[in-house]
């Protein structure tokens, strides 16, 4: 259970607030998508949820515990993050990269045990990258890299999963494959997922709950069917939008002026 209560965020030197009084709740096992144009505060909100930045005002409560009062390790046991950019300084193998997800479970002076190796192996199997175990991460395609990071979060065994634009470097097919995988695994393991996306169509296809962010404030939130309307999409993206429904699918598109 995540509760975001009146979160406002301002950069230390910046005057304008990036997030303004944002409040919402996410029930366990739900897949939530944050939608909004560039600069709307999606990534900032996700970084606050990840505990990388502290809200200027308001608070974030996860399972009844205020995020600010948790140590790095306690937080990492609660939530796992797939970052938007992943550029390791050295070409670790996929297996080594996945194994790093075990960090919160490994004592500071120790290395991974055989149980940790086993967890990494199970995680790689779950996302279907066992064959890549010995491949350097520098030689992966965008999709494979994303799968490696997802396997790492599974190895981390946190009940909450945050993904920052997981589809931004992926082709059309891989966007759907990766999101379908995330949704399937989240359902299997009863994970709560919060991710940012650019494409409202992907949100409509995969989300249980959509939160629209504009200029750092929530424009709308709720089920995709009720939130993703023509009127709201127009206001969110500041351009004429259309919505079609066909055989249970919702298709959103930009109207040519």
């Amino acid at each position: 259970m995540i509760r975001v209560e009146g979160v406002t965020f301002r950069h230390p030197q910046g005057a304008a607030a990036v997030l303004r009084d944002v409040s919402f709740a996410v029930a366990p096992g739900r897949l939530v998508v944050l939608l909004g144009p560039n600069g709307s505060g999606k990534t900032t909100l996700l970084r606050c949820l990840a505990g990388l930045w502290s809200p200027t005002a308001g608070r974030i409560v996860i399972d009844g515990r205020d995020l600010r009062h948790l140590s790095h390790r306690q937080r990492a046991a609660l939530l796992a993050v797939v970052p938007q950019e992943h550029a390791p300084a050295f070409p670790y193998t996929v297996q080594e990269a996945v194994l790093m997800g075990r960090a919160p479970h490994i004592r500071v002076y120790a290395g991974p045990s055989s149980a940790d190796r086993w967890a990494a192996r199970v995680a790689m199997e779950a996302v279907g990258i066992s064959a890549l175990a010995a491949r350097p991460t520098s030689r992966l395609s965008g999709g494979e890299r994303q799968l490696t990071l997802i396997a790492r979060t599974l190895a981390q065994e946190a009940p909450l999963l945050l993904l920052d634009e997981p589809t931004s470097h992926l082709d059309f097919r891989n966007q759907h494959r990766v999101l379908a995988l995330v949704k399937r695994i989240a359902a299997e393991k009863a994970l709560t997922v919060v991710m940012t996306l650019h494409d409202p169509n992907l949100a409509a296809a995969f989300a249980h709950q959509v939160i629209m962010l504009k200029d750092g404030a929530i424009l709308a939130g709720g089920e995709p069917e009720t939130v993703l309307t023509e009127d709201r999409l127009c206001r969110l993206y500041d351009m004429p939008m259309g919505v079609l429904t066909h055989a249970g699918h919702r298709l959103m598109f930009a109207r040519q002026p």
């Binding site: 990840a50 505990g51 990388l52 140590s71 790095h72 390790r73 306690q74 937080r75 990492a76 046991a77 939530l79 796992a80 993050v81 970052p83 992943h86 550029a87 390791p88 300084a89 050295f90 070409p91 670790y92 193998t93 297996q95 080594e96 790093m100 997800g101 960090a103 919160p104 490994i106 500071v108 002076y109 120790a110 290395g111 991974p112 190796r117 192996r121 790689m124 066992s130 175990a133 010995a134 350097p136 991460t137 520098s138 981390q156």
Partner: protein, 336 residues
Amino acid sequence: MAFPTRRCGRLRTKCVVILAAPVLAAVAALFLGAYGVSPGQVLRILAGRAADGQETAIVLDVRLPRIVLAALVGMALSTAGATLQAVLRNPLVDPFILGISAGAAFGCALAIGFLPGVPLPVMAFLVGGLAVLAACGMARSGGQISRLSLVLAGVIISALFTALLSIVKFLVDPMKLQSIVYWLMGSFALADWAQVRSAGLGILLGCLPVVLFRWRLNVISLGDDEARTLGVHVSRQRIVFIAGATLAVTSAVAVSGIIGWIGLMVPHLVRMATGPDHRRLIPLSMAGGAAFMIGADTIARSLTTADIPVGIITALAGAPFFIYLMRRGGQESWGE
């Protein structure tokens, strides 16, 4: 496991070879030297059954401490190199490039020239620590340290401390100047057991946290944000690593002067051979650094009748290596 066994076996062979290298190098170095002691005599001396006191002294009190000291210093420099490369996420740095060596050298010269009461390793650590903090502080902008600006900051810090060192050399009295100049060239020519003890303590103490926490280097090398979301207290852990590396390097500089490039070359060579995982990389860099330094020192003392400072040998090998790393544009060994 997921590895095909053949790859696993090859990896193991490489690890064994690297780990055995310093022992082999040390044995070879024991039999080589300007003063000709026959191999049979060396064996008799080692077994404690030699009559000739002078030859015994040469093997046990000249060659042996020199080999042990070279091994310790090589170990310190390459461990520190591997650690700094991971912590700063920058494969182009080593203690020499970051200015730690120059800072430590200035500290030592200051102690030799003007502060006779202060032990050299203490001054070396204080000023060397200042140098690395200054380099990182200079290169940091907006919470990020870019690779190139860190190298440039190191060059500037090195230049600064080298200039300060020159002032000390200029002001100090000629008798002391001689010992500063000779020590600075980077040489093990004066090695004895007292030096082994004084350097060994700092080097082992500095390497200890690096060895213990070495798996964390993998996580830290992903970058601050990723390491934090993986539960690592990055700022605290980084200080421990940098302090350990600095202690090891400055203890080495205090006995051997400035020996560059080892900290850059050895971790890269090991990474190319056995991959970037720091669980392997750290112990293998220690062994590789020790072997490399024993080898370089043996060449330095047996190439000519004069004892060439070993720093010259490592620089001759290191400069082309750095150019090679830059030309490669960082593919395999640092995955950009």
